[in-house]
């Protein structure tokens, strides 16, 4: 109980990932959806860092860096697109985005 093992971190990471998934599926506001994806990415980062620590290998941390870099780019591009969409439709509700309807 007192000894914190790798599994503790992994389960925490999984828990956060599940929360992120709930957000991804539940949110209808596009901005909120972005928040949820941030949670997903961060939960994975925890897992990477934990594995890196417990195996004494730096590769996990390297991956976490690149994940952060990707998250940053994603936010930049995603927000840009979001702004365009908002300018055009004055709405960022997911249910209103139905131009892909089959």
């Amino acid at each position: 109980m007192m000894e914190i093992t790798l599994n503790h971190y992994l389960i925490l990471s999984t828990l956060l990932f599940a929360i992120g998934l709930i957000g991804v599926m539940r949110r209808k506001n596009l901005l909120m959806l972005f928040f949820a994806t941030e949670i997903l990415l961060n939960s994975v980062n925890i897992a990477f860092a934990a594995i890196s620590h417990y195996y004494g290998d730096l590769t996990g941390q390297m991956f976490a860096f690149f994940v952060i870099a990707i998250a940053a780019s994603e936010v930049a591009v995603g927000l840009g697109l979001l702004i365009i969409w908002f300018k055009r439709t004055n709405n960022i509700d997911l249910d209103a985005m139905t131009s892909m309807r089959g």
Binding site: V24, M25, R27, L94, D95, M97, T98, S99, R101, G102
Partner: protein
């Protein structure tokens, strides 16, 4: 040098065919007919040069154009040979086809498919040349199928006519049945001798088991039966008269139907070893001769009468070939080609004059309008009847002598009676069509003579029908380089036989003239049962219809309704419907809403995770250990 002529003879018709095919879909252009005829004439001239080369003692020309198949032990080249037999066949084929080409320019004058017709006709000649010139059974088979295909195309040339397409299919299907036999024969040859080259096969055959050779001989003859329309595969030939008349003259009288005889002649080393099969062939030939001749007696369709006559004469040829007198068969084949083609072309003129009316009973007195046609047809009929000194006399008489010489008196008797019947039905046709009252006037026909150049085109055949028999001794000398000579034992009775045969032929002619002097016989004749049997072709077509076609149709219907629709189609449709239904149901997944798409994505992720979990569970060491422990227990 001679090789060049060989290739010229072979490929000139192909060139013509391809050339005409270029304009196949366009309306009539006279020069397609002229060019194909010209190329045919080139082929004819080349054949004559090759023939005279061989006649003057030249070597047999044997070329191998290129390799066709070479896999493992199988080696089949595109090889061609010009020896005495194929040279004779080439002369016959090119002569008749050149005449028919020129004739067809006139005959098909008003036809929409003029160019197409010449394309097919030249393609036929090419196939026939391949058939007779090939130096192996595979090449022969290609030619064999080629002529079958062209025959189908040409019988069904007027494809908008239901009867024509039906007849074309009948001919094609019957020939396929027979070709299966032939193919089996060829396989047997290859299986037992390891080669398909004539020379190798024939060198090998004497060392084979006699049963094997018998099988080969029978199967090859089955193929010959189909192509030469021997009983019981004879029905297609009479129906094939639906095709244009030049086609009937070329394919269904002079060349293609004699391919069966050619095959037997070509395979003479095989048939020499199996005289029993030969005797069977001869017996069948004699039967077909009289059988077809009786059907010709009463028929009221001009072309069908001639077609039955062709059948009957093919029977004669098979008698000679079956009894080992191969050169006699070839001789009759040649003579018959000339006068029968002439007869058909004459019939074509009459048909044209009578607006495609074929019933000779409705004609009568045509001699006034069509003098030259009448002369040529009479000439051909006299030749067919076998009256001295025309071509038919020499060849047919020789066949009777062959039968007599082998002490096959029943065969001889059959053929002797047939000779009388032949003379009778030939002159029945002549009398009904050209003499007597002008019955056609009452029916409103205005017959006219054919074009001058058409008549000129026919004249070589007329000349050949007269003189072809005069060169018997030269021919025997020439052909026996390759074919075995036949020992006649009839020198003591030769004159008597000739006289007896001529008597019955003359008797037949005189009877016909006397009976039909005043037009057709009274209706009373048509009430008689024997007439009924003959006009219905011994009820054989009906028999086939009842016992082969109808059960087959029923079987097909059952297979269609029960097997195809309920099993094959149903399963295929089932698959399609399942996929379609799945698509229809899962279409709602693509509702364009990002939220639900994400939800589906998570479901997909869940499935993947489950798989990964199952996989890792299955491959983990402890589980493997536990599983192997279980297995050990």
């Amino acid at each position: 040098m001679m090789e060049m002529y060989l290739y010229l003879a072979l490929f000139a018709p192909l060139a013509g065919s391809l050339f005409a095919a270029l304009f196949g879909a366009s309306p009539k252009t006279l020069w397609t007919g002229l060019i194909t005829s010209g190329l045919l004439f080139t082929s004819f001239v080349s054949s004559v040069i090759l023939f005279s080369y061989l006649l003057s003692g030249g070597e047999v020309i044997h070329v191998e154009m290129m390799t066709w198949m070479a896999t493992g032990n199988l080696y089949i080249p595109f090889g061609f040979v010009v020896d005495e037999v194929s040279a004779t066949m080439m002369i016959v084929v090119t002569t008749v086809s050149t005449v028919v080409h020129v004739y067809a320019i006139g005959y098909m004058d008003h036809d929409k498919g003029f160019n197409r017709f010449f394309s097919y006709l030249s393609a036929f000649v090419f196939s026939m040349m391949v058939l007779v010139m090939s130096d192996n059974f595979a090449g022969l088979f290609i030619g064999w199928e080629g002529v079958g295909l062209c025959s189908w195309l040409l019988i069904g040339f007027w494809y908008h006519k239901e009867t024509a397409t039906w007849a074309a299919n009948e001919a094609f299907i019957m020939n396929r049945i027979a070709d299966l036999g032939m193919l089996i024969g060829i396989f047997l040859i290859y299986w037992n001798t390891g080669s398909l080259q004539y020379d190798k096969v024939f060198a090998e055959v004497p060392y084979l088991d006699i049963d094997t050779v018998t099988m080969i001989g029978i199967f090859l003859f089955v193929g010959a039966m189909g192509k030469s329309a021997q009983f019981p595969l004879h029905t297609w030939l009479a129906d094939a008269m639906e095709g244009p008349t030049p086609v009937s003259a070329l394919i269904h009288a002079a060349t293609m139907v004699t391919a069966g005889v050619y095959l037997v002649i070509r395979a003479n080393p095989i048939y020499d070893l199996i005289p029993d099969v030969g005797y069977m062939i001869a017996s069948l030939g004699a039967f077909v001769a009289i059988f077809a001749a009786t059907m010709a007696l009463v028929n009221r369709d001009m072309k069908r009468i001639i077609a039955y006559s062709t059948l009957s004469q093919l029977g004669y040829m098979f008698v000679a070939a079956g009894l080992g007198a191969y050169w006699v068969a070839l001789f009759h084949l040649m003579a018959h080609a000339f006068f029968k083609a002439l007869l058909f072309l004459g019939a074509g003129n009459v048909m044209h004059a009578m607006d495609d009316e074929l019933d000779p009973v409705k004609m009568g007195g045509l001699r006034h309008a069509m003098k030259w046609t009448m002369v040529m047809m009479t000439l051909a009929s006299v030749a067919l009847a076998g009256i001295y000194p025309l071509a038919g006399f020499f060849s047919k008489d020789k066949i009777l002598e062959v039968a007599f010489s082998g002490d096959h008196y029943i065969l001889w008797g059959t053929l002797w009676v047939t000779a009388g019947l032949t003379a009778f039905y030939s002159f029945r046709l002549i009398m009904l069509a050209f003499f007597g009252e002008k019955r056609h006037e009452a029916l409103g026909f205005h017959p006219h003579e054919a074009y001058k150049y058409v008549l000129w085109a026919m004249s070589p055949l007329a000349v050949l029908a007269v003189i072809a028999g005069w060169f018997e001794h030269e021919f025997v000398h020439f052909i026996t380089h390759l074919l075995p000579n036949f020992e006649f034992h009839t020198h003591h009775v030769e004159m008597i036989l000739i006289i007896v045969t001529s008597m019955i032929a003359l008797g037949g002619i005189i009877t016909a003239i006397m009976l039909y002097k005043n037009g057709p016989l009274s209706k009373k004749w048509e009430e008689r049962p024997c007439y009924k049997v003959l006009i219905n072709q011994y009820f054989i077509p009906q028999f086939y219809e009842e016992f082969f076609t109808k059960p087959y149709r029923e079987l097909s219907r059952v297979l269609w309704k029960e097997v195809d629709m309920k099993i094959v189609d149903a399963s295929v449709d089932g698959i399609a419907n399942t996929i379609y239904g799945t698509g229809e149901k899962t279409r709602h997944m693509q509702d364009g809403n990002l939220s639900s798409m994400l939800r589906w994505m998570v479901i997909g992720l869940l499935i993947l995770l489950t798989l990964a979990a199952a996989f890792s569970f299955g491959t983990s060491d402890t589980v493997q250990q536990a599983l192997s422990d279980l297995g050990a227990i």
